[in-house]
Protein backbone atom coordinates (compact mmCIF):
# COMPACT_ATOMS: atom_id res chain seq x y z
CA UNK A 1 0.00 0.00 0.00
CA UNK A 2 1.21 3.44 -0.89
CA UNK A 3 0.01 5.61 1.92
CA UNK A 4 2.12 8.18 3.70
CA UNK A 5 1.32 7.87 7.37
CA UNK A 6 1.77 11.07 9.30
CA UNK A 7 0.41 10.89 12.82
CA UNK A 8 2.14 14.17 13.62
CA UNK A 9 -0.61 15.87 11.63
CA UNK A 10 -2.83 15.70 14.70
CA UNK A 11 -0.58 18.18 16.48
CA UNK A 12 -0.21 20.54 13.55
CA UNK A 13 -2.37 23.70 13.41
CA UNK A 14 -5.67 23.46 11.54
CA UNK A 15 -6.43 26.10 8.87
CA UNK A 16 -9.03 27.84 11.06
CA UNK A 17 -6.13 28.86 13.28
CA UNK A 18 -7.81 27.99 16.58
CA UNK A 19 -5.37 25.24 17.53
CA UNK A 20 -4.14 21.83 16.48
CA UNK A 21 -6.19 19.29 14.51
CA UNK A 22 -6.58 17.26 17.68
CA UNK A 23 -8.07 20.27 19.41
CA UNK A 24 -10.33 20.75 16.39
CA UNK A 25 -11.62 17.17 16.74
CA UNK A 26 -12.12 17.49 20.48
CA UNK A 27 -14.22 20.62 19.99
CA UNK A 28 -16.18 18.39 17.58
CA UNK A 29 -16.69 15.89 20.39
CA UNK A 30 -18.03 18.79 22.44
CA UNK A 31 -20.65 19.49 19.76
CA UNK A 32 -21.48 15.80 19.49
CA UNK A 33 -22.11 15.61 23.23
CA UNK A 34 -23.95 18.94 23.35
CA UNK A 35 -26.27 17.72 20.59
CA UNK A 36 -26.74 14.28 22.11
CA UNK A 37 -27.41 15.54 25.64
CA UNK A 38 -29.91 18.23 24.63
CA UNK A 39 -31.70 15.75 22.36
CA UNK A 40 -31.65 13.17 25.17
CA UNK A 41 -33.59 15.53 27.45
CA UNK A 42 -36.29 15.89 24.77
CA UNK A 43 -36.26 12.16 24.05
CA UNK A 44 -36.66 11.22 27.73
CA UNK A 45 -39.43 13.75 28.37
CA UNK A 46 -41.53 12.90 25.30
CA UNK A 47 -40.63 9.22 25.39
CA UNK A 48 -41.68 8.77 29.01
CA UNK A 49 -44.99 10.57 28.42
CA UNK A 50 -45.86 8.80 25.15
CA UNK A 51 -44.72 5.42 26.46
CA UNK A 52 -46.88 5.84 29.57
CA UNK A 53 -49.93 7.04 27.64
CA UNK A 54 -49.73 4.00 25.37
CA UNK A 55 -50.37 1.70 28.35
CA UNK A 56 -53.46 3.55 29.61
CA UNK A 57 -56.96 2.11 29.08
CA UNK A 58 -57.90 5.19 26.99
CA UNK A 59 -58.29 3.79 23.47
CA UNK A 60 -57.92 6.96 21.42
CA UNK A 61 -54.86 8.15 23.35
CA UNK A 62 -53.22 4.76 22.76
CA UNK A 63 -54.01 5.05 19.07
CA UNK A 64 -52.57 8.58 18.95
CA UNK A 65 -49.41 7.35 20.67
CA UNK A 66 -49.09 4.43 18.26
CA UNK A 67 -49.45 6.80 15.30
CA UNK A 68 -46.70 9.05 16.68
CA UNK A 69 -44.38 6.08 17.12
CA UNK A 70 -45.05 4.65 13.66
CA UNK A 71 -44.46 7.95 11.89
CA UNK A 72 -41.10 8.68 13.43
CA UNK A 73 -39.91 5.09 13.37
CA UNK A 74 -40.51 4.44 9.69
CA UNK A 75 -38.75 7.42 8.14
CA UNK A 76 -34.92 7.36 7.93
CA UNK A 77 -33.13 9.73 10.31
CA UNK A 78 -31.38 11.65 7.53
CA UNK A 79 -34.73 12.32 5.79
CA UNK A 80 -36.12 13.57 9.09
CA UNK A 81 -33.08 15.85 9.42
CA UNK A 82 -33.85 17.33 6.00
CA UNK A 83 -37.50 17.78 6.94
CA UNK A 84 -36.60 19.72 10.08
CA UNK A 85 -33.87 21.76 8.40
CA UNK A 86 -35.19 22.47 4.89
CA UNK A 87 -38.94 21.81 4.96
CA UNK A 88 -40.18 23.00 8.36
CA UNK A 89 -39.20 26.68 7.89
CA UNK A 90 -41.14 26.72 4.59
CA UNK A 91 -44.32 25.32 6.15
CA UNK A 92 -44.33 27.62 9.19
CA UNK A 93 -45.80 31.16 9.03
CA UNK A 94 -43.45 33.30 7.00
CA UNK A 95 -42.04 35.42 9.86
CA UNK A 96 -41.21 32.39 11.99
CA UNK A 97 -39.77 30.49 9.02
CA UNK A 98 -37.55 33.41 8.06
CA UNK A 99 -36.37 33.71 11.64
CA UNK A 100 -35.43 30.02 11.66
CA UNK A 101 -33.50 30.37 8.41
CA UNK A 102 -31.57 33.36 9.74
CA UNK A 103 -30.30 31.80 12.97
CA UNK A 104 -26.52 32.23 12.73
CA UNK A 105 -24.34 29.12 12.38
CA UNK A 106 -23.70 26.81 14.10
CA UNK A 107 -27.00 27.28 16.01
CA UNK A 108 -28.94 27.24 12.74
CA UNK A 109 -27.98 23.57 12.32
CA UNK A 110 -27.77 22.77 16.01
CA UNK A 111 -31.39 23.58 16.80
CA UNK A 112 -33.01 21.47 14.06
CA UNK A 113 -30.51 18.67 14.77
CA UNK A 114 -31.45 18.58 18.46
CA UNK A 115 -35.19 18.65 17.75
CA UNK A 116 -34.87 15.98 15.10
CA UNK A 117 -32.69 13.63 17.14
CA UNK A 118 -34.77 14.21 20.27
CA UNK A 119 -38.03 13.28 18.61
CA UNK A 120 -36.48 10.42 16.62
CA UNK A 121 -35.11 8.92 19.85
CA UNK A 122 -38.25 9.69 21.89
CA UNK A 123 -40.01 7.00 19.85
CA UNK A 124 -37.47 4.40 20.91
CA UNK A 125 -37.62 5.56 24.53
CA UNK A 126 -41.42 5.37 24.37
CA UNK A 127 -41.19 1.74 23.22
CA UNK A 128 -38.86 0.88 26.11
CA UNK A 129 -41.02 2.64 28.69
CA UNK A 130 -44.15 0.92 27.38
CA UNK A 131 -42.42 -2.46 27.52
CA UNK A 132 -41.21 -1.67 31.05
CA UNK A 133 -44.71 -0.82 32.30
CA UNK A 134 -46.22 -3.83 30.57
CA UNK A 135 -43.59 -6.11 32.13
CA UNK A 136 -45.03 -5.32 35.57
CA UNK A 137 -47.51 -7.86 36.97
CA UNK A 138 -51.12 -6.84 36.31
CA UNK A 139 -51.79 -7.17 40.00
CA UNK A 140 -49.87 -3.97 40.72
CA UNK A 141 -52.28 -1.78 38.75
CA UNK A 142 -55.23 -3.68 40.24
CA UNK A 143 -53.88 -3.24 43.75
CA UNK A 144 -53.55 0.47 43.08
CA UNK A 145 -57.18 0.67 41.99
CA UNK A 146 -58.30 -1.48 44.93
CA UNK A 147 -56.57 0.90 47.34
CA UNK A 148 -58.70 3.70 45.93
CA UNK A 149 -55.97 5.42 43.92
CA UNK A 150 -57.06 7.24 40.77
CA UNK A 151 -55.47 6.23 37.47
CA UNK A 152 -52.90 9.08 37.54
CA UNK A 153 -52.06 8.23 41.15
CA UNK A 154 -51.60 4.54 40.28
CA UNK A 155 -49.10 5.54 37.63
CA UNK A 156 -47.38 8.12 39.79
CA UNK A 157 -46.98 6.04 42.94
CA UNK A 158 -47.12 2.39 41.84
CA UNK A 159 -46.27 1.71 38.19
CA UNK A 160 -43.79 4.38 37.10
CA UNK A 161 -41.35 4.17 40.03
CA UNK A 162 -40.90 0.48 39.20
CA UNK A 163 -41.02 0.70 35.42
CA UNK A 164 -38.55 3.56 35.08
CA UNK A 165 -35.98 1.68 37.11
CA UNK A 166 -36.50 -1.45 35.03
CA UNK A 167 -36.01 0.33 31.68
CA UNK A 168 -32.74 1.99 32.67
CA UNK A 169 -30.41 -0.68 31.20
CA UNK A 170 -32.04 -0.64 27.73
CA UNK A 171 -31.97 3.15 27.85
CA UNK A 172 -28.16 3.01 28.10
CA UNK A 173 -27.96 1.59 24.61
CA UNK A 174 -30.42 4.23 23.40
CA UNK A 175 -28.13 6.91 24.78
CA UNK A 176 -25.17 5.34 22.97
CA UNK A 177 -27.31 5.37 19.84
CA UNK A 178 -28.14 9.06 20.20
CA UNK A 179 -24.42 9.87 20.47
CA UNK A 180 -23.72 7.89 17.29
CA UNK A 181 -26.79 9.21 15.48
CA UNK A 182 -25.79 12.81 16.13
CA UNK A 183 -23.21 12.29 13.36
CA UNK A 184 -26.08 12.45 10.84
CA UNK A 185 -26.34 16.16 11.71
CA UNK A 186 -23.26 16.73 9.56
CA UNK A 187 -25.60 16.49 6.55
CA UNK A 188 -27.27 19.73 7.63
CA UNK A 189 -23.93 21.39 8.29
CA UNK A 190 -23.27 20.79 11.98
CA UNK A 191 -19.53 20.32 12.48
CA UNK A 192 -19.64 17.62 15.14
CA UNK A 193 -16.98 14.94 15.54
CA UNK A 194 -17.54 12.98 12.32
CA UNK A 195 -18.07 16.19 10.35
CA UNK A 196 -14.79 17.55 11.66
CA UNK A 197 -12.92 14.33 10.88
CA UNK A 198 -14.26 14.66 7.33
CA UNK A 199 -13.22 18.33 7.18
CA UNK A 200 -9.77 17.48 8.56
CA UNK A 201 -9.40 14.88 5.81
CA UNK A 202 -10.24 17.53 3.21
CA UNK A 203 -7.80 20.09 4.62
CA UNK A 204 -4.86 17.81 5.35
CA UNK A 205 -5.36 14.84 2.95
CA UNK A 206 -4.48 12.56 5.88
CA UNK A 207 -7.62 10.43 5.53
CA UNK A 208 -6.89 7.55 7.83
CA UNK A 209 -5.31 9.54 10.65
CA UNK A 210 -8.40 11.75 10.77
CA UNK A 211 -10.87 8.86 10.83
CA UNK A 212 -8.75 6.78 13.20
CA UNK A 213 -8.59 9.66 15.67
CA UNK A 214 -12.37 10.13 15.46
CA UNK A 215 -12.91 6.38 15.91
CA UNK A 216 -10.76 6.31 19.03
CA UNK A 217 -12.59 9.32 20.47
CA UNK A 218 -15.94 7.60 19.86
CA UNK A 219 -14.70 4.40 21.51
CA UNK A 220 -13.51 6.30 24.58
CA UNK A 221 -16.82 8.17 24.80
CA UNK A 222 -18.66 4.84 24.66
CA UNK A 223 -16.55 3.46 27.49
CA UNK A 224 -17.24 6.49 29.68
CA UNK A 225 -20.99 6.35 29.00
CA UNK A 226 -21.20 2.62 29.67
CA UNK A 227 -19.24 3.01 32.88
CA UNK A 228 -21.36 5.94 34.06
CA UNK A 229 -24.62 4.17 33.32
CA UNK A 230 -23.46 1.00 35.09
CA UNK A 231 -22.88 3.06 38.22
CA UNK A 232 -26.31 4.65 37.89
CA UNK A 233 -27.95 1.27 37.27
CA UNK A 234 -26.38 -0.13 40.41
CA UNK A 235 -27.73 2.74 42.46
CA UNK A 236 -31.33 2.55 41.27
CA UNK A 237 -31.79 -1.18 40.68
CA UNK A 238 -34.83 -2.84 42.18
CA UNK A 239 -33.85 -5.21 45.01
CA UNK A 240 -35.09 -8.76 44.54
CA UNK A 241 -35.22 -8.84 40.72
CA UNK A 242 -33.08 -11.29 38.76
CA UNK A 243 -31.03 -8.46 37.23
CA UNK A 244 -30.26 -7.11 40.70
CA UNK A 245 -29.19 -10.52 41.98
CA UNK A 246 -26.87 -11.07 39.05
CA UNK A 247 -25.27 -7.69 39.47
CA UNK A 248 -24.93 -8.25 43.19
CA UNK A 249 -23.24 -11.63 42.74
CA UNK A 250 -20.05 -10.15 41.31
Amino acid sequence: MNYNWNWGILLQPEPGGAGSYLHYLIVGLGWTLATALAAWVIALAIGAIVGTLRTTPLKWIVRLGNGYVEIFRNVPLIVQMFLWYFVLPELLPRALGDWMKQIPPPWGSYLPAVLCLGIYTSVRVAEQVRAGIQSLPRGQAMAGTALGLTLPQTYRFVLLPMALRIVLPPLTSEFLNIVKNSSVALTIGLLELTGRARAMQEFSFQVFEAFAAATVIYLLTNLVVVFGMRTLERRVRVPGLIGAQQAGAH
Binding site: M1, N2, Y3, E70, I71, R73, N74, V75, P76, L77, I78, V79, Q80, F82, L83, F86, V87, E90, L91, L176, K180, N181, S182, S183, V184, L186, T187, T194, A197, R198, Q201, V207, F208, F211, A214, T215, Y218, L219, N222
Partner: protein, 230 residues
Protein backbone atom coordinates in the same frame (compact mmCIF):
# COMPACT_ATOMS: atom_id res chain seq x y z
CA UNK B 1 -49.94 24.95 4.29
CA UNK B 2 -49.86 23.18 0.95
CA UNK B 3 -50.64 26.26 -1.11
CA UNK B 4 -48.06 26.45 -3.86
CA UNK B 5 -47.20 22.80 -3.37
CA UNK B 6 -45.95 21.66 -6.76
CA UNK B 7 -47.20 18.12 -7.31
CA UNK B 8 -46.04 18.29 -10.90
CA UNK B 9 -42.34 18.05 -9.98
CA UNK B 10 -43.02 14.72 -8.26
CA UNK B 11 -44.91 13.42 -11.27
CA UNK B 12 -42.15 14.56 -13.62
CA UNK B 13 -39.35 12.99 -11.61
CA UNK B 14 -41.09 9.90 -10.18
CA UNK B 15 -39.90 7.63 -12.99
CA UNK B 16 -36.30 8.77 -12.52
CA UNK B 17 -36.54 8.49 -8.73
CA UNK B 18 -37.74 4.91 -8.84
CA UNK B 19 -35.75 3.65 -11.82
CA UNK B 20 -32.43 5.14 -10.69
CA UNK B 21 -32.82 5.76 -6.98
CA UNK B 22 -35.08 3.04 -5.67
CA UNK B 23 -33.29 0.40 -7.77
CA UNK B 24 -30.01 1.46 -6.15
CA UNK B 25 -31.53 1.43 -2.66
CA UNK B 26 -33.26 -1.94 -3.05
CA UNK B 27 -30.29 -3.65 -4.74
CA UNK B 28 -27.97 -2.31 -2.05
CA UNK B 29 -30.34 -3.48 0.70
CA UNK B 30 -30.68 -6.99 -0.75
CA UNK B 31 -26.97 -7.47 -1.42
CA UNK B 32 -25.96 -6.13 2.00
CA UNK B 33 -28.62 -8.27 3.67
CA UNK B 34 -27.39 -11.45 1.97
CA UNK B 35 -23.73 -10.68 2.60
CA UNK B 36 -24.45 -9.42 6.11
CA UNK B 37 -26.41 -12.51 7.15
CA UNK B 38 -23.74 -14.88 5.77
CA UNK B 39 -20.83 -12.98 7.32
CA UNK B 40 -22.84 -12.32 10.48
CA UNK B 41 -23.59 -16.03 10.91
CA UNK B 42 -19.88 -16.84 10.54
CA UNK B 43 -19.10 -14.16 13.13
CA UNK B 44 -21.71 -15.62 15.49
CA UNK B 45 -20.17 -19.08 15.10
CA UNK B 46 -16.77 -17.57 15.85
CA UNK B 47 -18.08 -15.73 18.91
CA UNK B 48 -19.54 -18.96 20.28
CA UNK B 49 -16.48 -21.00 19.34
CA UNK B 50 -14.45 -22.72 22.03
CA UNK B 51 -11.29 -21.41 20.38
CA UNK B 52 -10.56 -18.32 22.45
CA UNK B 53 -8.69 -16.21 19.84
CA UNK B 54 -11.51 -16.68 17.31
CA UNK B 55 -14.15 -15.72 19.85
CA UNK B 56 -12.11 -12.72 20.92
CA UNK B 57 -11.53 -11.48 17.37
CA UNK B 58 -15.19 -11.75 16.41
CA UNK B 59 -16.21 -10.03 19.65
CA UNK B 60 -13.78 -7.19 19.08
CA UNK B 61 -15.02 -6.72 15.51
CA UNK B 62 -18.68 -6.65 16.53
CA UNK B 63 -18.07 -4.24 19.42
CA UNK B 64 -15.98 -1.95 17.26
CA UNK B 65 -18.65 -1.75 14.55
CA UNK B 66 -21.36 -1.17 17.10
CA UNK B 67 -19.58 1.68 18.87
CA UNK B 68 -18.88 3.81 15.82
CA UNK B 69 -21.47 5.87 13.90
CA UNK B 70 -22.52 4.43 10.55
CA UNK B 71 -21.65 7.70 8.82
CA UNK B 72 -18.06 7.39 10.00
CA UNK B 73 -17.94 3.76 8.87
CA UNK B 74 -19.21 4.80 5.43
CA UNK B 75 -16.38 7.36 5.19
CA UNK B 76 -13.83 4.80 6.40
CA UNK B 77 -14.70 2.24 3.78
CA UNK B 78 -15.15 4.79 1.02
CA UNK B 79 -11.47 5.70 1.40
CA UNK B 80 -10.17 2.36 2.62
CA UNK B 81 -11.65 0.00 0.00
CA UNK B 82 -9.56 1.39 -2.91
CA UNK B 83 -6.38 0.78 -0.88
CA UNK B 84 -7.40 -2.70 0.21
CA UNK B 85 -8.38 -3.54 -3.36
CA UNK B 86 -4.99 -2.38 -4.63
CA UNK B 87 -3.28 -4.42 -1.95
CA UNK B 88 -5.29 -7.52 -2.81
CA UNK B 89 -4.50 -7.46 -6.52
CA UNK B 90 -0.93 -6.22 -6.00
CA UNK B 91 -1.53 -2.82 -7.61
CA UNK B 92 0.69 0.06 -6.54
CA UNK B 93 -1.92 2.80 -6.57
CA UNK B 94 -5.40 2.76 -5.04
CA UNK B 95 -7.92 1.25 -7.45
CA UNK B 96 -11.16 2.97 -8.43
CA UNK B 97 -14.25 1.68 -6.68
CA UNK B 98 -17.62 3.24 -7.46
CA UNK B 99 -19.95 4.55 -4.76
CA UNK B 100 -22.24 1.55 -5.27
CA UNK B 101 -19.71 -1.20 -4.56
CA UNK B 102 -18.15 0.82 -1.80
CA UNK B 103 -21.61 1.06 -0.23
CA UNK B 104 -22.28 -2.67 -0.69
CA UNK B 105 -19.03 -3.54 1.10
CA UNK B 106 -19.65 -0.98 3.86
CA UNK B 107 -23.17 -2.12 4.63
CA UNK B 108 -22.26 -5.81 4.43
CA UNK B 109 -19.43 -5.34 6.92
CA UNK B 110 -21.41 -3.00 9.19
CA UNK B 111 -24.69 -4.90 9.27
CA UNK B 112 -22.83 -8.19 9.78
CA UNK B 113 -22.09 -7.03 13.33
CA UNK B 114 -25.81 -6.59 14.00
CA UNK B 115 -26.87 -9.78 12.21
CA UNK B 116 -24.16 -11.56 14.22
CA UNK B 117 -25.81 -10.62 17.51
CA UNK B 118 -29.18 -11.82 16.20
CA UNK B 119 -27.78 -15.14 14.97
CA UNK B 120 -25.90 -15.59 18.22
CA UNK B 121 -29.15 -15.29 20.15
CA UNK B 122 -30.72 -17.70 17.65
CA UNK B 123 -27.98 -20.30 18.06
CA UNK B 124 -28.10 -19.96 21.83
CA UNK B 125 -31.85 -20.59 21.77
CA UNK B 126 -31.29 -24.17 20.49
CA UNK B 127 -31.09 -26.69 23.29
CA UNK B 128 -27.68 -28.13 24.11
CA UNK B 129 -29.07 -31.68 23.92
CA UNK B 130 -29.48 -31.36 20.16
CA UNK B 131 -25.81 -30.59 19.69
CA UNK B 132 -24.84 -33.42 22.00
CA UNK B 133 -27.16 -35.83 20.18
CA UNK B 134 -25.79 -34.80 16.81
CA UNK B 135 -22.17 -35.19 17.92
CA UNK B 136 -23.04 -38.57 19.46
CA UNK B 137 -24.42 -39.65 16.08
CA UNK B 138 -20.97 -38.98 14.63
CA UNK B 139 -21.68 -35.69 12.82
CA UNK B 140 -18.77 -33.26 12.83
CA UNK B 141 -18.95 -29.56 13.78
CA UNK B 142 -19.87 -28.29 10.31
CA UNK B 143 -22.54 -30.96 9.82
CA UNK B 144 -24.01 -30.26 13.25
CA UNK B 145 -24.10 -26.54 12.55
CA UNK B 146 -25.26 -26.78 8.94
CA UNK B 147 -27.91 -29.44 9.33
CA UNK B 148 -29.14 -29.19 12.92
CA UNK B 149 -28.44 -25.89 14.63
CA UNK B 150 -28.39 -23.17 11.97
CA UNK B 151 -31.61 -24.13 10.13
CA UNK B 152 -33.54 -23.90 13.40
CA UNK B 153 -31.71 -20.83 14.64
CA UNK B 154 -32.34 -19.11 11.33
CA UNK B 155 -36.01 -20.05 11.34
CA UNK B 156 -36.53 -18.77 14.89
CA UNK B 157 -34.82 -15.52 14.07
CA UNK B 158 -36.45 -14.74 10.72
CA UNK B 159 -38.69 -11.99 12.12
CA UNK B 160 -35.79 -10.29 13.91
CA UNK B 161 -33.54 -10.62 10.86
CA UNK B 162 -36.26 -9.03 8.72
CA UNK B 163 -36.75 -6.20 11.21
CA UNK B 164 -33.01 -5.55 11.05
CA UNK B 165 -33.31 -5.53 7.25
CA UNK B 166 -35.97 -2.80 7.45
CA UNK B 167 -33.51 -0.78 9.55
CA UNK B 168 -30.85 -1.51 6.93
CA UNK B 169 -33.23 -0.31 4.20
CA UNK B 170 -33.63 2.99 6.05
CA UNK B 171 -29.92 3.24 6.85
CA UNK B 172 -28.91 2.94 3.20
CA UNK B 173 -30.17 6.53 2.78
CA UNK B 174 -26.95 7.60 4.53
CA UNK B 175 -24.99 6.89 1.34
CA UNK B 176 -25.98 10.50 0.67
CA UNK B 177 -22.71 11.43 2.43
CA UNK B 178 -20.67 9.84 -0.38
CA UNK B 179 -22.93 11.43 -3.03
CA UNK B 180 -24.39 8.14 -4.25
CA UNK B 181 -27.65 8.27 -6.21
CA UNK B 182 -29.89 6.17 -4.01
CA UNK B 183 -33.58 7.05 -3.59
CA UNK B 184 -32.78 10.01 -1.33
CA UNK B 185 -29.76 11.02 -3.43
CA UNK B 186 -31.89 11.10 -6.61
CA UNK B 187 -34.52 13.21 -4.84
CA UNK B 188 -31.85 15.62 -3.57
CA UNK B 189 -30.58 16.05 -7.14
CA UNK B 190 -34.04 16.89 -8.47
CA UNK B 191 -34.76 19.10 -5.45
CA UNK B 192 -31.65 21.18 -6.01
CA UNK B 193 -32.05 21.33 -9.80
CA UNK B 194 -35.67 22.52 -9.71
CA UNK B 195 -35.46 24.22 -6.32
CA UNK B 196 -38.33 22.09 -5.03
CA UNK B 197 -36.98 20.98 -1.64
CA UNK B 198 -40.27 20.89 0.23
CA UNK B 199 -42.01 18.71 -2.35
CA UNK B 200 -39.15 16.28 -2.90
CA UNK B 201 -38.25 15.76 0.75
CA UNK B 202 -41.85 15.24 1.87
CA UNK B 203 -42.35 12.81 -1.02
CA UNK B 204 -39.23 10.86 -0.03
CA UNK B 205 -40.41 10.72 3.58
CA UNK B 206 -43.84 9.44 2.51
CA UNK B 207 -42.36 6.72 0.28
CA UNK B 208 -39.93 5.53 2.97
CA UNK B 209 -42.79 5.54 5.47
CA UNK B 210 -45.10 3.47 3.26
CA UNK B 211 -42.42 0.88 2.44
CA UNK B 212 -41.14 0.51 6.02
CA UNK B 213 -44.58 0.57 7.61
CA UNK B 214 -45.95 -2.08 5.24
CA UNK B 215 -42.87 -4.24 5.71
CA UNK B 216 -42.90 -4.01 9.50
CA UNK B 217 -46.61 -4.87 9.59
CA UNK B 218 -45.85 -7.91 7.47
CA UNK B 219 -43.03 -8.93 9.83
CA UNK B 220 -45.34 -8.49 12.81
CA UNK B 221 -47.91 -10.83 11.26
CA UNK B 222 -45.18 -13.32 10.32
CA UNK B 223 -43.91 -13.25 13.90
CA UNK B 224 -47.37 -14.12 15.23
CA UNK B 225 -47.72 -16.97 12.76
CA UNK B 226 -44.32 -18.45 13.56
CA UNK B 227 -44.81 -18.05 17.30
CA UNK B 228 -47.79 -20.42 17.29
CA UNK B 229 -45.78 -23.35 15.93
CA UNK B 230 -43.30 -23.48 18.78
Amino acid sequence: MFAGYDFDVIQRSAWYLFREGMTFTVTLTLLAMTGGVVFGTLLAMMRLSSMRPLAWMAGAYVNLMRSVPLVLVIFWFFFLVPYIGAWLIGEKNPIRVGAFWSAVITFTMFEAAYYCEIMRAGIQSISRGQVAASLALGLNYWQTMGQIVLPQAFRNMVPVLLTQTIILFQDTSLVYVISATDFLGAAVKVANRDYRLVEMYTFVAVVYFIVSFTASNYVYRLQKRIAVIR
